[in-house]
């Protein structure tokens, strides 16, 4: 059986250890959860790593269920996946939890070699606040401006292909709001992180249009 790890939903960046405030992004996890349903129906075993509150397979937001008659079908499909043990769901909230979980799940998939796919649909924060720089208590408000200094999130994408799960097929995602830089960023990710495929989207058109950048393999005449 083929295996796919799907990451889905956004990660938070807490500003305080006793967290009241956090940075977030608009992701609902609908792309990841619908993809999970598709993979399950194609016979894959799915590890679904999702933001705690975001959409899950066969349990997506009502806005995505146009007819009540679908509910019954969804329930039966969910029960099938549950009975066959083909769906494992793991929840995260902060970017810290996400990175820790991703590393361990990828390492666990290593023995599956090329039969494993890693499908990174989660909207991971580009910046975070490392523990030692984080405030202990809720930041107090005052009459002055508040400056928040964010550190780039450690890039796990290259580690993934280099050490965590080298033989897996890796699909990553790129979302932009500016069309003029989209494909440059997508092909850039293939060169930089050695992923196999990048699915590229523009925020406002993401339900209607998708661009694909695929790594070209050099064959030795075979």
């Amino acid at each position: 059986m083929n295996l796919v790890l799907i990451t889905s939903g956004g990660t938070t960046v807490p500003l305080e250890k006793n967290t009241v405030r956090f940075l977030d992004n608009f992701s609902t996890g609908s792309r990841g959860s619908i993809s999970a349903e598709y993979f399950l129906e194609q016979g894959y075993a799915v590890v679904f790593m999702h933001r705690e509150v975001s959409d899950c397979p066969y349990a997506c937001s009502p806005r995505l269920i146009p007819l009540n008659s679908y509910l019954c079908r969804l329930f039966n499909l969910y029960r099938k996946a549950d009975e066959e043990g083909t769906l494992l769901q793991l929840g995260f909230t902060s970017v810290h939890e996400y990175l820790f979980m991703l590393k361990h799940v990828c390492q666990a998939l290593q023995p599956a070699g090329e039969r494993a796919m890693i499908y990174l649909a989660a909207a991971v924060s580009d910046y975070f606040i490392p523990d030692h720089l984080m405030e202990e208590h809720k930041i107090q408000s005052g009459s002055d401006n508040l400056n928040i200094c964010l550190t780039p999130t450690p890039k796990c994408l290259s580690l993934l292909k280099k050490t965590w799960c080298p033989r897996a097929v890796v699909v990553s995602f790129k979302l932009e709001t500016d069309e003029s830089i989209l494909m440059k960023k997508a092909t850039g990710a293939i060169e930089k992180y050695k992923v196999d495929c990048v699915v590229a989207n523009i925020l406002k058109k993401r339900f209607d249009e998708v661009c694909l950048a695929v790594a070209t393999c050099v064959n030795d005449g075979g």
Copy 2:
């Protein structure tokens, strides 16, 4: 009939005009929505100003519904409020929308005088980014730190008592993580903004314990 405006849930602070990232807080709106149910059951007409995705009266998160038999009772209570026209629900997402809506609803409540209560349970962002300082597109990630400069949100609490709805009874909320400053902050809000009552909570104990700071009225011997 008595009237209450309840605000509920957190507000977001967009970092970009084409918003991908935003600041948020952990509020689920459960206190506001449960309070709305209580006020309705006491015969109040309720204007419920809530974060689009947060809990609403008689439709709170499943974690708050311990038994299925409650569902039927909740549905009937919701139908009653709907039929009697005693519940008006208005949604917001960003802090900009919240402030604009609060001002207009408060001004509309002015003719009700002392019969109106304003119950500010929403977790409003203390800081925001004014439109003219906001980035147009998604902030690009890079290898450098990212500094975000936030401006204090205009304080509407004093405007509320001074001009928007002077005769209404105003209840505000204060949440802290540090117990040593809680009551000082709560009584400070009464002096500073002339609100009638402050409900004060510690983040970790908020389901079990609540402190109350009430304005003392000086009577002329009556």
